[in-house]
């Protein structure tokens, strides 16, 4: 590998010719002409069929949007393929949605249908679709997710893999609109929750279950002990000293930390602050399922997802228990909820006791809130419950 300088950076004079603080490109440069023309003057829209939206403008213009799925982790090769398609059908414009779908916009239904066919026909050598059309209306759209084992240092599960198996399982509902309302699934590989897992209809969350191992020998070298101590939300960590035998056999006393394990809730916040406190563990780590959250203010206010399955192990590569549970949840919801009723609104209407029964989920002490004062507000304070 020969290093090829860009010519814009001289390490000795880093400020020379430097351009900073110019921000992103102005979006208007990228708007398709029909969009630019009718911006702010849209009248109404229609979902012609799964994956095809039509927006009608005051001008009479119609724009047809064909939406397709994406694994979000895209190679530049695939992006270039997207560009080819956009050039062919859309005059060289394309957009991505807030849930990582790809949207191609054309000006007639005809073109849209052709495009849809084309997109649906493209497959990877391994067999999966490249650009499955769908994700609109009362169905399941793309799963918002995070890095997992592909890039992050704190995950308790993989992101891309779990998303793949769940979307494979629920694929039909990506291309259909048979559900009572839209169903939004999110995935985050650790408690940091880089996504809206805390407010999704169904959420897949990576979770550790073992307190950090303490790397006494290195801790004082690699970490700021006070920061590690301060990081713990439950106050489980305190500074201490301990005698160790180093790898090289030397006996010595080192400054380190002690952890009250029974106080640990496995959040990994200490590990974020200090690499000498790793949590990850094959048997300890796995998945929590949450459900019943939402973001829109439509009919009911936004609400948080609730923990409904305390633990599913990391059964790589296809997490069969996870996939089955998701299937069960979606089908039960599809069968029992009312039209326009979001997942959480349904659970609340029938009562969580009935929800657990219908979904055949086990209830255990793990699902009872015991985190700080607000926990109390989730307990049952009324005789209104179902047997």
């Amino acid at each position: 590998m020969t290093f090829v300088p860009s010519g814009y950076y001289n390490p000795d004079k880093p400020m020379e010719g430097r351009i900073t603080d110019i921000g992103p490109r102005h979006y208007a440069e990228f708007l398709p002409p029909i969009i630019k023309k009718n911006k702010g003057k849209w009248l109404w829209h229609e979902i012609i069929e799964p994956g095809i939206l039509m927006h009608k403008a005051e001008s009479g213009d119609e724009v047809y949007t064909v939406r397709c799925g994406s694994p979000r982790l895209l190679s530049t090769e695939t992006i270039k393929e997207i560009c080819e398609i956009a050039d062919e059908y859309c005059g060289g414009y394309v957009r991505f949605t807030t849930r990582n779908n790809v949207e191609f916009m054309v000006d007639s239904l005809d073109k849209a249908r052709k495009l849809k066919e084309d997109l649906n026909s493209r497959k990877h050598p391994g067999g999966s679709y490249k650009f499955p059309v769908g994700g609109t209306g009362a169905g399941i759209t793309n799963i918002v997710h995070t890095q997992g084992w592909v890039h992050c240092h704190t995950p308790a599960t993989d992101a891309s893999g779990t998303v793949k198996v769940v979307m494979d399982e629920l694929f039909e509902d990506f291309q259909k609109m048979r559900l009572p309302a839209q169903l939004r699934i999110s995935m985050a590989c650790c408690l940091n929750m880089c996504g809206a897992v805390h407010c999704s209809d169904i959420a897949i969350l990576g979770y550790h279950r073992k307190p950090p191992i303490i790397d006494h020998e290195w801790l004082d070298n690699l970490c700021e002990i006070p920061l590690a101590v301060a990081a713990c939300p439950t106050g489980a960590i305190r500074p201490t000293k301990t005698k160790i035998t180093t790898e090289s056999g030397e006996e010595k006393e080192v400054k380190t930390v002690a952890i009250k394990q029974e106080r640990c809730m496995f959040c990994g916040n200490c590990y974020t602050m200090c690499p000498c406190l790793p949590l990850a563990d094959k048997e300890g780590d796995g998945i929590v399922i949450m459900a019943g959250g939402k973001l829109s203010n439509c009919i009911t206010p936004p609400k948080f997802s609730k923990v409904i399955v305390a633990f599913i192990p990391n059964e790589t590569p296809r997490w069969p228990q996870l996939a089955q549970t998701m299937r069960k949840l979606v089908d039960t919801y599809a069968k029992h909820a009312r039209k326009y009723e979001r997942f959480g609104d349904w659970a609340e209407r029938i009562g969580w006791e009935r929800f657990f029964e219908l979904c055949e989920l086990e209830f255990s002490h793990h699902l009872i809130d015991d985190f700080r004062d607000p926990a109390y507000y989730t307990w049952r304070h009324t005789t209104q419950f179902k047997f």
Binding site: M1, F3, V4, S6, Y8, P14, T20, D21, I22, G23, H26, Y27, F30, K39, G40, L43, W44, E46, T65, P71, L73, L74, S75, T76, E77, I79, A86, G92, Y93, R95, M105, H124, P125, G126, S128, P132, G137, V144, W149, H151, H153, D158, K164, M177, N192, C194, G195, A196, V197, H198, C267, N269, P275, A280, E283, N297, I299, P302, F304, Y340
Partner: protein, 440 residues
């Protein structure tokens, strides 16, 4: 013959959903094929050709041992910026040298995520050349995410981006993070303000905050054009700007009749089912403020009582439209659960006009930042400071009058913290005076 056997990952190539494994393999193949051409063009791959192979290798290892093999980032970045790059190193660099360094670059996406193919191709070429060729389109915050490069490429990439693409990095660290918006007016009839423009203008106004960490912790802006919340701002941004209107929902009674008559499909056709539309059951009964009725076949809305949930509008988009006196509401403090539990945004400004140059909005933002930078502890999000010091304090520093709209319900504990100046006679009392009336 692949560099590493990946029997587990290979199982993720089957099934209908687009396979990320296939994506990585695709790029791997391409790189191997293209390497020579690059060399010839004087643009030899700047990071190992087998970066994708090694990524598959290390990932397969994780699939076997159930743990990640990425280490903490350390401090990498470009000169003068405190954000935009996430450092990442592999804990098995000998086995997987291609990903020994595997830093991420966050590129500030254009508002609304529209692209020309010309521009996208430029990005691809740069990233092929100086990175892994793998991306996330997009990261959860909204950035274009370039996934995996080596430290020495960072300045080169940054230089190319700024000089050739007129494109800056996004945020990370204790900075303002890359703002993001729903597509808004660009293609949505419900947008109550121009989300893209506000997003862009505030991004530009606060470039310094975006690139140079001066905050106690991260800070996010998100812009939703209406209460539907298509960019999830109310759950994911320290300041969430949500479009709304103050006047009446506009009704086209003929279109209402067409819905009732079955000529128009409810909810814009978002449901496959073809049960006939029942306006009473599907709209009027579901209105959360129970402010609708049918009178002589005409739909009547008591707009004063409407809470703008938009359900009726979304069910009958051709009959009902948002009002004309538009603006936005501002919510503060949303965040993920770490550390004190998740928060939704809390209403700060019920209604404000959203017109350039947005001075009033900027003033609010800056007042909030002043307070947070003064009072916020290290790694304390705005929401946590609000919890610690009270919503009152946020109102105080922004000079906003408390109104019932600020609360879902008034306090149910009567523990009112009166201030001394509010109580006649003040607080300094003399025990001897007291004892005259109340002997021990």
């Amino acid at each position: 013959m692949p560099k590493h056997e990946t029997p587990l990952l290979d199982q993720l190539e089957s099934g209908p959903w687009p396979s990320f494994v296939s994506e990585i393999k695709r790029q791997s193949e391409f790189r191997h094929k293209n390497a020579e051409a690059m060399e010839k063009a004087g643009k030899p791959y700047q990071i190992p050709v087998d970066v994708c192979d090694d990524l598959l290798g290390v990932l397969e290892m994780s699939y076997n041992d159930g743990t990640t093999h990425w280490k903490h980032g350390g401090i990498v970045g470009v000169f003068g910026y405190g954000g935009g790059v996430i450092g990442r190193y592999c804990d098995q660099p000998e086995k997987f040298p291609g990903v020994a360094h595997f830093h991420t670059i966050r590129v500030n996406q254009p508002a609304g995520k529209y692209y020309t193919t010309e521009y996208l191709r430029k990005l691809c070429d740069l990233w092929d050349f100086r990175g892994s060729g793998l991306t996330n389109m997009h990261g959860s915050t909204g950035d274009i995410v370039f996934l995996g490069t080596r430290t020495e490429q960072l300045e080169e990439i940054f230089g190319t981006l700024t000089h050739e693409f007129e494109q800056d990095l996004g945020g990370s660290g204790s900075n303002l993070r890359t703002p993001a918006c729903c597509l808004g007016e660009s293609r949505c009839e419900w947008a109550c303000y121009d989300t893209q423009e506000l997003c862009y203008q505030l991004t530009m106004e606060y470039q310094d905050e975006l690139h140079r960490p001066a905050f106690p912790y991260k800070f996010k802006f998100k812009f939703d054009g209406c209460p539907m919340g298509c960019v999830a701002s109310i759950a994911r941004s320290d300041m969430s700007f949500i479009g709304t209107w103050r006047d009446d929902i506009k009704i086209d009674q003929e279109a209402v009749a067409a819905y009732i008559g079955g000529e128009l499909k409810p909810n814009a056709g978002a449901h496959e089912d073809d049960t006939p539309f029942d306006i009473q059951k599907e709209v009027i009964d579901l209105c959360p403020s129970q402010c609708m009725s049918l009178e002589d076949g005409k739909l009547v809305i008591n707009n004063k009582e409407c809470v703008r949930c938009m359900h009726c509008i979304r069910v009958m988009p051709r009959a009902l439209r948002i009002g004309d006196d538009r603006g936005l509401s501002i919510f503060c403090g949303a965040k993920a659960p770490i550390l004190d539990g998740a928060q939704m945004g809390s209403l700060l400004v019920p209604f404000i006009k959203a017109e350039p140059p947005y001075d009033e909005i900027k003033e609010i933002i800056e007042n909030i930042w002043d307070w947070w930078m003064e009072e916020g502890k290290n790694r304390e999000r705005l929401g946590e400071l609000m919890k610690r010091q009270g919503l009152q304090k946020l109102l105080e520093v922004t000079g906003i009058k408390p109104v019932p709209q600020h609360v879902q319900e008034p306090r149910h504990n009567p523990y009112i913290f009166w201030k001394e100046e509010e109580v006649p006679g003040g607080w300094q009392r003399d025990i001897n005076e007291y004892r005259k009336l109340h002997p021990r």
